[in-house]
Symmetry: none
Subunit: 193 residues, 4 copies
DNA sequence: AATGAATGAGCCTTCATTCAT
DNA sequence: AATGAATGAAGGCTCATTCAT
C-alpha cells in the first residue's frame, strides 16, 4: 500500500540534507546523489519532488530565509523600544539556528549562487530589503530618517561581513563576539547624535 | 614575433582570463577550456604552464592578493598620520583596480574556494592578518591597543561585508559610497573617546 | 523484459567484452568506451558497475582465473592415479575454453598488468601457487618431494612458455601440439628414474 | 658551433632510456617525454631522430635482439661439441646482459607489442627462428632431425616460460636457477634416446 | 511512492606530434 | 643540433536527468 503524505516529509528531509551537504562540501559543488543519499532516498526521488537540482538548491535557500524571517518576527513581538528592537534583530541574525556552521556555509554559497540565478538573487534582495526596513523603522525613534537609513545600511554590511569572516574559520561560530562587534557599532552611531 | 620567453606572457594572460571568466560565470564553475579560449590559447597550454585547474585558480587568487598588497604598500608611503593611514588603507581596498566588478566576483568565490582548499584558506588568512595588522598599527596613535584591535576587526568585517553586498548588485560598484560607509564607522569609533 | 536484476547480466557482458577487446586490440590499450560498446551499453554504465577501468580489467582477470580453477577442479574429480592427474591438469590448461586466442591474449596482457598493479600481481601469484601445488601433489606418488617440486616448476614454466609463444601466432591455437610438448617433458622426467 | 656526430650518441642514449623506462613503468605505457627526460634531451629531439614513438620502441627492440644475437654468436665461437653448443646458447640467453630485470620487462612488453605491430612481430619471429635453428643444428649430432626439432621447440618454450615467470618476481633474476631448469630438461631429453 | 537502470554531455587531463627559432 | 611553444585528439570519469517498473 502506498504511503500517504510522504511528500512534505521527503521535501523537508531533502532540504535539510542539501544544507548539510553544502556545508560538508564547502561549496555548491554538491551532487544530487550526495544529497539524496544523505536524506536516505534515491536521487531520482529528489528530481521527482523538486524537478531538478537548481530547484532543490533554491528551495533550500528559500527555507533558510523563511526561517530567519519567522525568527525575527517572533522575537520582535512585544518589544516596543526602538533600541531594543534593533538588538532583537541583530540577536536573531546570530541566534544558534542561524549562526551555525552549516547555515553560514550555505549563506555564503547562496551569495555565489545569486550571481548566476535570477531567482536566487531575488531572494537575497528580499531578505536584504526586509532587514533594512526593519532596522530603519526601529532606528526611527532614535535618529533622523536619513541617519536611520545610513546606520541600517552599516548594520547590514556588518552582519554580512561577520558572516563572511566566520565562513573562513574552522572553529565553532562565536555568536556573543559577533553580536558584540555589531552592537558596539550601533552604540556609537546612536549615542553620538 | 619572438618565440622564446612566452611563459610569463601566457601565465599573465591566463590569470587575467581566469579572473574575467570567474566574473562572467559568477562562480568557480569555470572550465579550463573557457579560460584558455579567453586567453587565446589551447586548454592544453594552460595545463602545461599551471599543472592543473586548481593551480591556475590559486595562482589567480595569489595574483589578486599580491596586487592589493602592493597597492596598500604604495599608498602608505609617506603618510605619517595614523588616521590618514587608516583612510589610505580603506581607500586602497576600494580603489578602482580592486573594487571592479570582476575582482569583487573573484573575491567572493575565493572565499568559497577557501572552504575546501587549504592553500586558498591560507592565502585569505594571510590577507586578513595583514589588513588587521596594518589597521591596528595605524590606529595605535589614536586608541589603546585593545581598542585599536577591536576597531580594526570592525573595519575588516565592514570591508568584507561591503564587498559581499556589492557582489549582489548588477550596477557598477560605487566606491565613494562604499568608502563613506566604512569611514563613517571609523569616525565615530575614533571620535567618541 | 525485466528491468531489475540487470547488474549480474551487465557485469558478465562487460567482462566478456573486455576480454574480447583486449584480444582484438592485442594490448591493454583498450578504452572503456570500446568495451562498453562491445557489450552494448554506455561507458558510463561500465563505470557505474565497476567503478573504473582498472577494476574492470582486474575483474576480467579474476574471472579468467576462476574459470581455470573450476575447470581444473572439475576435471580432477575421480581421477586417482598421480600421473593421470598431472595429465588432467595439463589438459585443463589447454582446454578449448582456456586456450582460445582471446584468452591467450588476455593472459599475456595480464602478466604485463601485474608489473604495475599489486592486485593483478597477487592474482597471478595465486594462480601460479595453485598450479604448482596441484602438480606437486600429483607427482608425489611418482617422485621424491624435492624432485616433484622441481618437475612441477618445469611444467609450470613450460605451460607459460607455450602460451607466450602462441600469443605470437595468428593461426588458431593448436592444443594437441601444445599438450604434446608438455607431456613429452613430463614423460621423460618421470620415466628416467 | 654545431656539435658533429651527435646522432649516434643520442640514438643510443634514447634507446637505453626507452628500455629503462619500460622497465620502470612495467609496461609500454611510457611517454616520449619520460624517455627523453631520462636521456637528458627534449622530447622533440626523440621525434627528430626516430620519427615517432613507434619507431623508437621498435628500435629499442631491434637493439635488444641484435645484442642477444651477437652474444650468442660470440659465445659459440670455437665450441665444437653439439651438447656444449646447446649449453652455450642457453647460457647466452640467461647471461647478465640479457637476463637483467630491465631486459626481462622489455622482452615481455615486446611480445605484447608484437600483437599489434607487424614489424615487432616480424622481429620476434626472426629471433625465434634463429634460436630454433641454432638449437636444431647443435642437437643434430645427438638426436634425429625430427627429435632435434622437437627438443629445440621445447627448449625455446622453456626459455620463454622462464622469462615470463621472472617478469612477475620483484627479486633480482636468478640466472643459475633458470639455467638449471632448462639444462635439466635438455639432459633428460638427450640422455634417454 | 520510490527506485534501479541507463545515458549524453561535458570536463580535466595527458600525450604524441609539429614548428619556428 | 636542439628546444620551447603549442595544439588536436582522445580517454577516463562524473553527473544531472530520464524512464520503466
Amino acid at each position: 500500500m502506498p504511503k500517504l503524505g510522504m511528500e512534505p516529509i521527503r521535501r523537508r528531509a531533502l532540504i535539510g540534507a542539501a544544507i548539510e551537504q553544502i556545508h560538508a562540501t564547502g561549496s555548491l559543488d554538491v551532487t544530487v546523489g550526495q544529497i539524496a543519499r544523505r536524506a536516505g532516498v534515491s536521487s531520482a526521488l529528489a528530481h521527482h519532488y523538486f524537478g531538478g537540482k537548481e530547484d532543490l538548491i533554491i528551495a533550500a535557500m528559500r527555507h533558510l530565509l523563511r526561517e530567519l524571517g519567522h525568527k525575527v518576527k517572533r522575537d520582535l513581538v512585544g518589544v516596543a523600544d526602538g533600541r531594543c528592537r534593533v538588538s532583537a534583530i541583530i540577536a536573531a541574525n546570530f541566534s544558534p539556528e542561524q549562526f551555525g556552521a552549516e547555515t553560514i556555509s550555505a549563506w555564503l554559497n547562496f551569495y555565489v549562487k545569486a550571481q548566476g540565478s535570477v531567482e536566487a538573487a531575488r531572494l537575497l534582495r528580499v531578505y536584504a530589503r526586509r532587514l533594512h526596513s526593519n532596522l530603519t523603522h526601529a532606528l526611527g525613534s532614535l535618529l533622523s530618517k536619513n541617519e536611520a537609513r545610513r546606520v541600517a545600511e552599516g548594520i547590514g554590511a556588518m552582519i554580512d561581513g561577520v558572516y563572511l569572516r566566520h565562513a573562513l574559520r574552522t572553529t565553532v561560530p562565536n555568536a556573543a563576539q559577533a553580536i558584540a562587534i555589531v552592537e558596539d557599532f550601533v552604540n556609537v552611531q546612536v549615542g553620538r547624535k
